[in-house]
């Protein structure tokens, strides 16, 4: 995307100005978004995003600049400005002299699309969306169906003064269906939004009619659901997107962004038991076509499969370059950013609880009264206190070991380490789901996942 000579000059000038490490990140996105509401195209949009971010390290102090003027004059001016910001202009660091010998690494296309961004016309997309809409019409109470189709094609180059040169291409597609059901009792929603690192062949993995049907059924379930009960009780969390609970309660506490500053309740706990023995927690950036997969992270490091917790014992954190400098932990290819407007930090990729051995049915046995959180919405955590919350999109009462009437509007809240210790059984039916995770370095595609699992007690927020 940029001439090697220009990249080299930028990095060299930064080094000459006293930085001990310089990293240039360049990207070009093409995006498409289509929103269709009950048969009508409401908005269709296409865009090009294009920019560069330059990050200079002075020990563990960082200066960062970004621009979307990528002309040589602009990039060199940005470099000078950064060097001046640090107050080190005029200094000449001998380390910056001599040529850079880039070790070029280009993505192998492990997650490459079969149907690329430019293939198929827009009418084809519209037809497939109409299948999702038709699928959602599961009852006369379904009043509106909104379908969003998002397509991203991102080309990335990361080059550093240490000789890294990594080129990656990330194609992602997501179909997102919201069904709205209404009767005299009110208006309720059902939402299903699969996404993967691939092109329009997403429609083969997740047939739009089936995605729509699930959203429609969920809206109907919520319409006949009573408000959720309130109080502390046992909860069985469904597989797939249910994994969002551990994304919040556990994942964020294991990013060096908080760990390095001792701002996580799980800092300095390597080798210690931090979760119940039935918990093995993995963050994998290499899952084939995973929504959060990429061949290189946004610092130019190859991604990897990182075992974070094994049988309840903390094995690794998620480590970016700055986190590694601050803590001494080995980088795990976890440096990610939304786009060039953010400096990278340590972030999750595809994170899941590994399957256990308890059959799903056994989880419900022995529960006199509890909640089955079959599908989850998003959540949030404060790593410093471990307090987290997440919303239940589809829930049912468990009575005498049986799944009974649906309830809506439940929110589960707790403190991370406590509820992880209270996971008493994990089933064998691992599934994953796509989500967007917002944090310091922006909003990123991540996968969350888990098998069905049982938490012995947790606060359920509903109607008292």
């Amino acid at each position: 995307m940029l001439a090697e000579a220009l990249v080299e000059e930028v990095l060299q000038r930064a080094r000459m100005g006293g930085a001990d490490y310089a990293e240039l990140y360049v990207e070009r996105w093409r995006r498409r978004a289509l929103r269709v509401l009950s048969g009508e195209v409401k908005e269709a949009t296409s865009g090009i995003e294009y920019g560069a971010g330059l990050r200079l390290f002075y020990g563990t102090e960082v200066v960062y600049a970004y621009t979307n003027d990528l002309s040589p004059e602009s990039l060199l001016e940005v470099t000078e400005t950064l060097v001046k910001l640090k107050g080190s202009a005029g200094q000449v660091d001998a380390g910056g002299q001599g040529g850079l010998d880039f070790r070029k690494a280009v993505a192998q296309g492990l997650h490459a699309p079969q149907i690329p961004f430019t293939a198929k016309d827009k009418r084809y997309r519209l037809e497939r969306i109409r299948e999702a809409e038709a699928g959602a019409q599961v009852g006369p109470q379904i009043k509106q169906v909104q379908t969003n189709l998002m397509e991203w094609d991102q080309e990335v180059l990361v080059a550093t003064s240490a000789g890294t040169w990594a080129e990656d291409r990330r194609v992602r597609t997501r179909l997102y269906v919201t069904a709205i059901a209404q009767d005299e009792s009110g208006m309720q929603t059902g939402v299903v939004g699969p996404g993967l690192s691939m092109g329009l062949e997403l429609f083969d993995r997740y047939p739009p009619a089936e995605v729509g049907r699930k959203a429609g059924l969920q809206a109907l379930t919520n319409l006949r659901a009573k408000p959720a009960p309130a109080g502390t009780m046992p909860v069985v969390i469904g597989n797939g997107f249910g994994g969002v609970i551990f994304h919040e309660a556990l994942g964020h506490l294991l990013e060096t962004t908080s760990v390095a500053k001792k701002a996580s309740v799980l800092s300095d706990k390597l080798g210690q038991k931090v979760a119940s023995e039935c918990v093995t927690y993995i963050d994998d950036g290499t899952t084939s076509h995973g929504w959060g997969s990429q061949e290189f992270d946004d610092e130019g490091q190859p991604t990897e499969r990182t075992v974070l917790i094994e049988n309840g014992v903390l094995k690794s954190y998620m480590v970016d370059r700055l986190g590694s400098l601050l803590t001494g932990y080995r980088p795990t290819g976890s440096g990610r950013r939304q786009d060039y407007t953010f400096a990278p930090t340590s972030r999750m990729r595809n994170t899941f609880i590994a399957p256990g051995t308890t059959p799903k049915e056994k989880l419900f046995e022995g529960i006199e009264y509890g909640l089955y959180a079959a599908d989850m919405g998003g959540g949030q955590v404060r790593p410093g206190s471990g307090e987290y919350n997440f919303g239940v999109k589809e829930g049912y009462i468990i009575r005498h070991g049986r799944i009974e009437e649906p309830v809506r509007g439940a929110m589960l809240v707790g403190k991370g380490p406590e509820s992880i210790m209270r996971i008493v059984a994990v089933s064998d039916d691992l599934e994953t789901g796509a989500g967007m995770c917002g944090s310091l370095s922006g909003s990123l595609p991540v996968e969350v996942g888990q098998p069905h699992l049982l938490i012995s007690e947790i606060v359920v927020g509903g109607q008292a």
């Binding site: 296409s46 563990t60 102090e61 009418r123 509106q144 208006m187 407007t341 410093g384 919303g391 929110m411």
Partner: protein, 438 residues
Amino acid sequence: MTFEQARDYLLQKARAMGVDAEVLATHTRELTVQAHGGRVEEITQATQGGVGVRVVVGGKTGYAYTEERTLEALDWVLAEAHENALLQSEGGGFLPEGGELGQHDLLGEGLSAPLEQKRQAALDVEAGLRADPRMRQVQMTRYSENETQAALGSTRGVWGAYRNGYSALMAYAVMGQGQSLKQSFELDVSKEFHALDPGRTAQEFIRKTGRLLGARPLKTGRYRAYFEPKAFGPLLAMMGMYMLSAKNVLEGKSLLANKIGQKIASDIFTLVDDPTLPGGLASRPFDAEGTPARRTVLIEKGVLRTFAHNSETARKMGVENSGHASRSYKGVLGIAPTNLFVEPGRGVELDDGIVITDLMGLHAGANPISGEFSLQALGLRVEGGEMAYPVENFTVAGNFLELLTHITALGTELEWNPMMGIVGTPMVEVDELSFAGA
């Protein structure tokens, strides 16, 4: 090529193609200084901009944008927007007629302090926080500033530009007392760098977070709720504005459809949006379609007066356009409030209930379509008119429209909150809500 040149090129080319087009070009400069451990750990300096186009062909609307300013990219933008428009089956799209709106400067010299003072401000917030012995971790403190120039033009005659911006101080830290830990943030925003006060930001953080230490579980039950502005503002912005957006009303997603002129809230509740507020953080001379700014009373003494409109929704509903069009260069035509506020009341007298200081998990636990919310909260138990002790690990739940009718008192002072839009509210007392805890 500058963004203004890109705008002019796109308009000229659209005219030549015989299509209507509206071009929004923005250019932003940002600076952030982040402190940690008594030193500046990160400085970010940035410029960013782009052009976004809305094209209308035979009543059909399409969008496209680019940050790359080559002729090739600009041509692609027009071709894609045109193709996107043709996907619509429904007509009725149009660009509003407009005129010369002038060049406005809403920022002035507000950010013109030297970098050294800005670095010092970030360091001073941290020093202020660390002065309290209960401070366990300061994750970071940050000074940030933003200066944005927006230029709008259309083939229908709209032409105008303005410059706006802000400066902000943020604190993000953990306080502790024994085993009890509380993490929070404090954000102060101003158009004037010199109006920011690092000592005040640190003190406010300490006051608001320190009082939550040693929190106890809350017993499940129904209690009177006293929402502090920091808790009520984001809930109002998310639920209320969603329902008041005429776009959501027309798309069948608002519970307030068909309720104009009806009583939907307590008699003491008046909700206003005012883009003309002098010095308002969200003030602007015209909206994203070039409709001049004016004050709108959305809810007056509990009665729903109007929805927030853009030209498209106003025409469809046959009412006057309130000038609430919003769009970024990357986005599509939408509706957004500016300086949204609840008129203060006669004061709240604490009696018995829960003061809610923070609400968390709005994106997961509040559904603006159903109006239902169940949210993690932090707060203080009030007994016999006194703040008795802090409480934690509980949720507060209800229906937002029911909540509005159950407002029994409003505080006398308006506090502006910049977390989710720019929302001003006083303290809000609700006679009874459902709390889930131990």
